[in-house]
Symmetry: C2
Subunit: 143 residues, 2 copies
Amino acid sequence: MKEEFYTLKGYKIKNEEILSSSMEDYIEMIYRLSQKSDQVRVRELSLALNVQPPSTTKMIKRLAKENYVIYERYGCIKLTEKGRDIGSKLLERHRIIFDFLECLGVKENILEQTEKIEHAVNDEVLEKINELTKFLKDEILPF
Amino acid sequence: MKEEFYTLKGYKIKNEEILSSSMEDYIEMIYRLSQKSDQVRVRELSLALNVQPPSTTKMIKRLAKENYVIYERYGCIKLTEKGRDIGSKLLERHRIIFDFLECLGVKENILEQTEKIEHAVNDEVLEKINELTKFLKDEILPF
DNA sequence: AGAACATGTTAGCCAAAGCTAACATTCTAA
DNA sequence: TTAGAATGTTAGCTTTGGCTAACATGTTCT
């Protein structure tokens, strides 16, 4: 199977990605906020993601339509089972990339870099990076 | 300086990124094609990027307006000095990420993963990854 | 209870980057 | 040299995910 070049957008179209990067960002953040407060609201989420409330409303509607969250107007946002499963995977993915960058010694914009890279990696790469980080932490960094 | 979360798009807006991912993809590919044929045309570029010709025309116009390429209707596409500088950096970035993934033992969709990750990393991360790959190749993999 | 404030929603705009259909130009070869 | 094929362009549509302005709803305090 020959591998071919595409533009970034081209890969998205070709793979018919189910979750856009933005959808992932919102779900991941809802998951994070749910762990603390259990009462996630539009305003809170908007602040956390540095986005204006109408953008959040719009995205929440979409996530609700696709069954990642349960929401009713003026109410609070709850992840469904499906949303929670994905949320925890996304958070784990975030953690793996963050740890890797930290272990690499990255100093500047480490959160931003994590957020960008996490959307790019697939399961295989994530797993390899995870193993590599463990290896570096256990066998290399101590010396 | 506190680091905050943004959506992917949010980072782009906030950092006022000069080159979009797509622009990078086109410049990188023009650079690659220039190395072989010197005569880069819309059709060739469209095929290489798996994009329809009108998309290429549109992007080339934009790249020309911003002085990355020189182009006139129905003619062939040439990188400017500025375009060439960036092109070579983009190709080097591609190479570094590809080598890293290869050295990680990634087997599936390695090109696609390279193409996605390369847009995400900044200079610092790229440099660290480069060093890490060299280290792995020299000190670890041989054993 | 009702005023004022906080929060949420709607409508409608924008840019990016794809696409198709229709048209224009250039090249090739009879 | 002119017809047809190949290539390129234009116009205009689509989706995504932001934004602001204006409006709606809920909450709180006097």
